[in-house]
């Protein structure tokens, strides 16, 4: 099969994407596919036209690659692609929208309040911030709605930090959210083709929360795969992960990040194009399930075939 591998792009997570792409390209070649590497930019549509691949493997992170932009372009070009479709990507890449859906579908998620630059600028929405702090309590998390990799995220412990934290979060996108701080274990559960793979636990070694650096620098966080989850809890974690994916339409492929505290699992985000670097969680989980990297890639490719028969 001729596979166009989309990696790089214009997002802040370009470096991670290139690293994912490098590994995926190797695996696809090992699997006997012909690989055409594409670094999406102004010429993307014509490059895809020239390559005319049987499948596009999306290894793009951050804006465009995760938010449905590239998926819509591929739909238009009639090229099947890996991972969820346009609507699912749009929903899950906006953490605020995703939380609305979770609320409607009964998926547990930490309490939150949305905030956006237009609402602040045009409608005085900042007036609600002191009330938001009262409702959510301190510490609280301020983060961009659309950015992956914990870029622009601040854990606010003192109200004096809030103004800067909101400006920071809104530097990574037009909307942001204030979220209740949940004390608990950080788990990631990959889902492929409606099946959950073993949970991976991220145990930060230095910082108070699992941030961009910790996520990609070896040594900044310690990972345990599979996470140690006693019987009932393990079952609940899987159920919540699948429910989150189902609610967003992401059962094809996603990584569900959740916090497990006293009140059980709470979903914080669903990433429809999870990282596939050497330190990424989905490959670690697959390995724990006895699935080498190549088999993981094969499965993602096969799932694209199921969705695009």
């Amino acid at each position: 099969m001729k596979v166009a591998l989309l990696a790089g792009g214009l997002s802040l997570e370009r470096a991670v994407s290139l690293e994912s792409g490098r590994r995926v390209a190797e695996a696809l070649r090992e699997l006997g596919h012909e690989v055409v590497r594409v670094d999406p930019g102004a010429e993307l549509a014509s490059e895809l036209g020239a390559a005319s691949p049987d499948l596009a493997f999306i290894a793009l992170h951050g804006r465009d690659g995760e938010d449905g932009t590239i998926q819509a372009l591929l739909d238009l070009a009639g090229i099947p692609f890996t991972g969820p479709g346009v609507a699912a990507c749009r929903l899950s890449s906006d953490k605020g929208l995703a939380k609305h859906v979770f609320g409607m579908k009964g998926v547990p998620t930490p309490a939150w309040i949305p905030i956006s630059e237009p609402a602040i600028r045009d409608y005085g929405a900042a007036a609600g911030l002191p009330g938001a702090v009262e409702r959510l309590g301190l510490p609280l998390v301020v983060k961009p709605a659309s950015q992956g990799s914990a870029l622009g995220l601040t854990v606010v412990t003192d109200p004096a930090e809030l103004v800067s934290a909101v400006v920071t979060a809104l530097s990574y996108g037009e909307s942001a959210l204030l979220e209740e701080w949940v004390e608990g274990r950080e788990l990631a559960v990959p889902v492929i083709g409606g099946e959950a793979l073993p949970a991976v636990e991220a145990i930060p070694t230095e910082r108070p929360t699992y941030d961009f650096e910790a996520r990609y620098e070896i040594g900044a966080a310690r990972f345990e795969a599979p996470a140690r989850l006693p019987g009932e809890l393990g079952k609940e974690v899987f159920e919540v992960a699948l429910a989150a994916c189902e609610s967003l339409g992401c059962l094809d492929l996603a990584r569900v990040d959740m916090l497990v505290g006293e009140q059980g699992p709470r979903v914080i985000e669903v990433d429809p194009v999870p990282g596939l670097t050497a330190t990424s969680l989905v490959p670690q989980s697959a390995e724990a399930a006895g699935m080498p990297f190549e088999s993981l890639i094969e499965r993602i490719v096969a799932q694209a075939g199921v969705r695009n028969p």
């Binding site: 214009l10 802040l12 602040i120 600028r121 900042a126 911030l129 870029l151 004096a160 103004v163 961009f212």
Partner: protein, 408 residues
């Protein structure tokens, strides 16, 4: 931060982030002449290994380059290196043990920090103002260290058209720094990549020439005055240090490329070096002027910036409430890049500052880039004010509540 910067390699992005010299104006006929000359007469040497300290001919020519700034040096004290960066690395690896203290400018050349950190040095940064490192603070720092039984291995400084600050160490402070180093018996590593790129003002003597080569190690490079792609630099050091550097270099790469050394030597001997240097200065001066003009037009009220008399960089500081890391995220989304100030410090300082390069980008792109950065900074300030004033939330101790309409 470094990961985020990956996007700057895309051609769509106006990158004011790198320290790139302009390589588009190197005379093609001269390039051909040099390379054909090597092919005709010098291939045997050019394609061979060479002595670790460098080709004798080039070592003899280096003092001529330094003499253009009035610095005298002896060929036997010169070691040729693979770029100035290797000189810095060799000096650090040869002299520094884990836990040793190093002194450097605040802000300092961001590329020096990983080198120092690789040797597990304890880096202490001494504040700079418009006249470079504050020598009274240097003296105070050294006195305090001495009282604690610590003597730094060296003082690292870029005294002329500093990277990233753009400022130049004043004549008085040059003499003071050398005097302090002698008194405390500490080496100075003088990194001088930009000294020959002076567009205006009077040249100042190098620390090396003031000292006479007793306590000062001089690092030079062809990167900004000929071509960065050559990866060719040099270090001038007193004999005991030089011997250590040669041993370390032997382990690192045996020798710097003979071909590249031949190229540089023939370039210096072509008689066109000064003419090329003049053309670079004209080019950079115009770009600097474009950048300074655009900054004063587009940057928000309360911003401050350096006005370098040469070199490649402007250092700008925005009102304290702007974090230039956040501004960079906005800027990258808008297709423009710079180096956030925190990269030039080991301790998180510089959060409202940025380094802007003017040598590697044509004037119209510089103006466009600065305009975008200025507009984004304005937007951030406006957002900050709106939130602070609407929400009436407490603000950090050092920051006063903004007054509406206090901006341009």
């Amino acid at each position: 931060m470094r990961k985020m910067m990956s996007i700057t390699s895309r051609p769509e992005v106006i990158s004011l982030a790198g320290g790139l010299p302009d390589t588009s104006t190197f005379p093609v006929d001269l390039y051909e002449e040099i390379v054909l000359g090597i092919a005709g007469e010098g291939l045997g040497t050019a394609l061979q290994y060479g002595p670790t300290e460098g080709l004798q001919g080039l070592r003899e020519a280096i003092p001529g380059v330094m003499a253009r700034e009035g610095t005298g040096a002896e060929p036997e004290d010169v070691t040729i290196t693979t770029g100035g960066q290797q000189a810095l690395d060799l000096v650090t690896r040869s002299l520094v043990d884990p836990g040793d203290v190093l002194i450097c400018d605040a802000p300092t050349y961001p590329g020096a920090l990983p080198t120092f950190q690789a040797s597990e040095a304890d880096v202490i940064q001494v504040e700079c103002d418009r006249e470079g490192m504050k020598t009274d603070l240097l003296e105070q720092t050294l006195t305090e260290l001495e009282a604690g039984g610590k003597r730094p291995k060296f003082i690292y400084s870029v005294p002329t058209f500093q990277n990233p600050g753009g400022m130049t160490l004043s004549l008085e402070r040059r003499h003071q720094m050398v005097e302090i180093a002698r008194r405390f018996e500490i080496l100075i590593v003088e990194d001088n990549p930009y000294g020959l790129l002076r567009f205006e003002g009077e040249p100042l003597p190098s620390l090396y020439s003031i000292d006479g080569g007793g306590f000062v190690i001089y690092v030079g490079t062809f990167s900004k005055i000929v071509a960065a792609g050559l990866r060719l630099g040099w270090v001038v050091a007193p004999p005991p240090v030089r011997e250590k550097l040669v041993v370390t270099k032997q382990a690192a790469d045996l020798c710097t490329s003979n071909f590249v050394q031949e190229f540089a030597l023939r370039f210096l001997e072509s008689g066109r070096f000064d003419e090329y240097l003049e053309s670079l200065k004209l080019l950079y001066r115009a770009r600097r002027d474009a950048m300074l003009g655009a900054i004063s037009e587009f940057f928000p009220h309360g911003a401050e910036w350096s006005r370098p008399e040469g070199g490649l960089f402007v250092w700008a500081s925005l009102p304290e409430v702007i974090d230039t890391g956040d501004l960079l995220a906005r800027a990258l989304a808008d297709g423009v890049a710079f180096v956030p100030g925190t990269e030039a410090f080991v301790d998180g300082r510089g959060a409202s500052s940025m380094r802007l390069n003017f040598s590697g980008v044509p004037e119209e792109r510089i103006i466009d880039g600065i305009r975008r950065i200025g507009q984004l900074a304005d937007g951030m300030l406006g957002l900050y004010e709106t939130i602070a004033n609407t929400a009436e939330l407490p603000l950090p101790g050092t920051i006063a509540r903004p007054e509406r309409g206090d901006r341009k």
